[in-house]
């Protein structure tokens, strides 16, 4: 094959290699720009990924939903419809296997976990459960958010700010005590 032909094929490969990350960015940016913002109460934990670095795993309070339907299979796709409660946090309004035309609330896509026949609750695997942090801060974030505070002796309210648009959800930040978890960890480590 001639060099020029090789080069043309290479250019196609280059476009594909640039297209994938660009597409990833554009998808997320569109949700951040046009999506609706929601607060999800959560509790962080710190694992790491060999290529992407340290992140905190977010365990959400709304990761179960009471339903009499016991036929859910593991890993089945769920449309999770959400609404805001009186305190401003998100709660699940309804779950479904298909898009519901009569429900005007926002929804995001998730996967089904196991169904507990004991208390009739379906476990939901929420997709936006990774929040990447600077490697030195991820573990501290877990520690400080799980530590009872001296003043109130209760755990701090930690919630995730998530933009939701037509099934897509982008995790924008995690807030502790109304402050971004990155700044909160910095402040706490200076204190101690």
């Amino acid at each position: 094959m001639k060099t020029i032909h090789l080069f043309i094929i290479f250019l196609i490969v280059v476009v594909a290699q640039l297209f994938i990350p660009t597409q990833m960015i554009l998808n997320q940016e569109s949700v951040l720009k046009y999506g609706t913002i929601y607060k999800f109460k959560t509790q962080p934990m710190d694992p790491s990924d060999p290529f992407k670095g340290k992140y905190i795993n977010l365990n959400y309070e709304i990761d179960t939903f009471k339903t009499p339907d016991s036929s859910w299979q593991r890993n089945e796709t769920i449309y999770v419809y959400i609404e805001t409660d009186s305190l401003g946090y998100s709660k699940i309004d309804q779950i479904s296997r298909t898009i519901l035309d009569d429900n005007k609330n926002d929804y995001f896509l998730a996967k089904a976990g196991w169904y507990s026949k004991f208390d009739h609750k379906l476990n939901i695997k929420i997709p936006f459960n990774r929040f990447y942090m600077e490697e030195t801060k991820a573990y501290d974030a877990e520690v400080v958010t799980n530590r009872p505070q001296n003043t109130t002796d209760s755990l701090l309210t930690t919630y995730a700010l998530v933009y939701v648009k037509e099934g897509e959800a982008v995790l924008n930040d995690v807030l502790v005590d109304g402050m971004s978890i990155k700044d909160f960890v910095e402040r706490e480590s200076e204190k101690h």
Binding site: T3, L6, F7, I9, F10, L11, I12, V13, V14, A16, Q17, L18, I20, P21, M24, I25, Q28, D49, P50, F51, K52, G53, K54, Y55, R74, N75, K111, G113, K125, P127, F128, N129, R130, F131, Y132, M133, E134, E135, K137, V170, L171, N172, K182
Partner: protein, 429 residues
């Protein structure tokens, strides 16, 4: 030129085996050959350097710099990728040396991975490691062919295996079958076949001869779904495929260290046979009907037909029309496997006999080829069989002890005989 060759030439001239004129001709030949071939060592170091730099970039970016804004982080996600693409483009356009192509290709490989990882990190994009690895490997596959790069082909195979293990063995929710691994391996085969054709005797071919079967052996277990018992059959038949591949005329005359198929096929076959030579293995499964309508059965069937095809092809191409027992193990085992539900205990006896005969066959092959390694391998098979029977038979300690003494003496005796034979052949020459 190699200093050993230079010394040898000097010695040959001194001993008047070759003339001074021939000596200088030989020297010029080697020197011209050296000029033609690219500096392999330099290529190896350049590739290693690229791997280290690439991995280093991934690690530095994985630190996740909090003080940078989202747009600066995005810029850094693309920077290594674009630099690597420009360097690779330049190497293709200017048709640079293999060193350039190999090292820039490897750098681009890691840049693709790091850019995707960083974008996922910046936007907290969820996703399994396996799907990330799959996208990464697919985006870099064309580079193997465009750059004709061995290092990229090796990375492709290694990362495809990583993907399949992640998807099939470690997937944290429900394990799936990594069918795409088959596609990934098939997609690299044309490159491998070209190497076999053009660079048959090069070291890189030996590396692939080991790497390919090894990866398939590692991953095959991920294709076992619910019927673990059939998994054993899948592995025995797979080792049959490899052994028969290694016995094809193309590979047969290669040295053992270059013929990964034969060595892995033989070792794997013996390992599986020893494992299935215990009574408990078959007893527990006596009442289980073989699930014919399962993916494990279909995979076993495809592997069986491939092994049979390769065996027949090898037999037809073989001038002596000879087949050794190792080549037929997969057929015997398959028959026993399906007979198990009819006659219990029967497979155990046959498998024990089979291992014994295979040991003898290996000793015979070793003796006829004057190969100490193969000879002792045969003795080792028999010893292993005896050690295993030590645990599950009611033989008296005296008989077991005597058996060990006999095998031990056998080791000395057979090796001694062979050494003598080798010496007599040398002195005859």
């Amino acid at each position: 030129m190699n200093s050993k060759i230079r010394n040898d030439i000097k010695e040959l001239v001194l001993e008047q085996v070759i003339s001074q004129e021939t000596a200088s001709k030989i020297e010029t030949y080697y020197e011209s050959k050296e000029n033609d071939s690219p500096n392999k060592l330099f290529t190896v170091f350049a590739v290693l350097g690229s791997i280290l730099v690439g991995l280093g970039i991934i690690l530095i970016l994985a630190h996740n710099w909090d003080h940078f804004s989202r747009s600066i982080k995005t810029f850094f996600a693309f920077l290594p990728l674009v630099i690597a693409q420009v360097v690779v483009g330049y190497s293709i356009l200017k048709n640079k040396s293999a060193t350039w192509k190999e090292s820039s290709g490897v750098f681009l490989f890691f840049a693709v991975g790091s850019s995707m990882a960083l974008v996922s990190q910046i936007y907290n994009i969820p996703g399994e490691l396996s799907s990330y690895l799959l996208t990464w490997v697919l985006l870099c596959l064309p580079l193997v062919y465009l750059l004709k790069s061995n290092a990229l082909a090796i990375l492709h195979i290694a990362f495809s295996t990583y993907y399949a293990c992640e998807y099939g063995y470690f997937y944290n929710s429900v394990m799936g079958t990594p069918w795409l691994f088959v596609l990934l391996i098939v997609s690299i085969l044309p490159y491998y076949f070209t190497l076999l054709k053009i660079k048959a005797s090069s070291n890189i071919v030996s590396i692939f001869n080991w790497l390919l079967p090894l990866c398939v052996i590692i991953v095959l277990g991920a294709f076992v779904d619910d019927n673990e018992f059939l998994g054993f059959l899948m592995y025995v038949v797979l080792f049959g495929v490899f052994y028969n591949l290694g016995m094809l005329p193309y590979f047969k005359n290669e040295k053992l260290r270059r013929n990964g198929y034969l060595v892995l096929g033989s070792l794997g076959t013996i390992f599986m046979l020893i494992l299935t030579s215990f009574k408990w293995f078959w007893q527990d499964r006596f009442n289980d009907a073989v699930p014919f309508n399962s993916q494990e059965f279909y995979i076993s069937a495809v592997l069986f037909l491939s092994a049979l095809g390769i065996l027949t092809y090898g037999y037809l191409k073989n001038q002596h029309k000879k087949v050794n027992l190792f080549q037929l193990v997969f057929i015997i085992f398959s028959i026993l496997f399906f007979l198990n539900s009819i006659i219990n205990a029967f497979p155990v006896i046959i498998i024990n006999l089979l291992i014994l005969v295979l040991g003898v066959v290996a000793i015979k092959i070793g003796a006829s080829k004057l190969h100490f390694g193969v000879l002792n391998y045969g003795l080792l098979i028999i010893s292993l069989l005896i050690v295993c029977r030590f645990f599950d038979t009611n033989m008296s300690f005296v008989v077991r002890g005597l058996l060990f003494v006999v095998v031990g003496v056998g080791f000395f005796f057979v090796n001694y005989l062979m050494l003598k034979k080798q010496k007599s052949i040398k002195s005859f020459k």
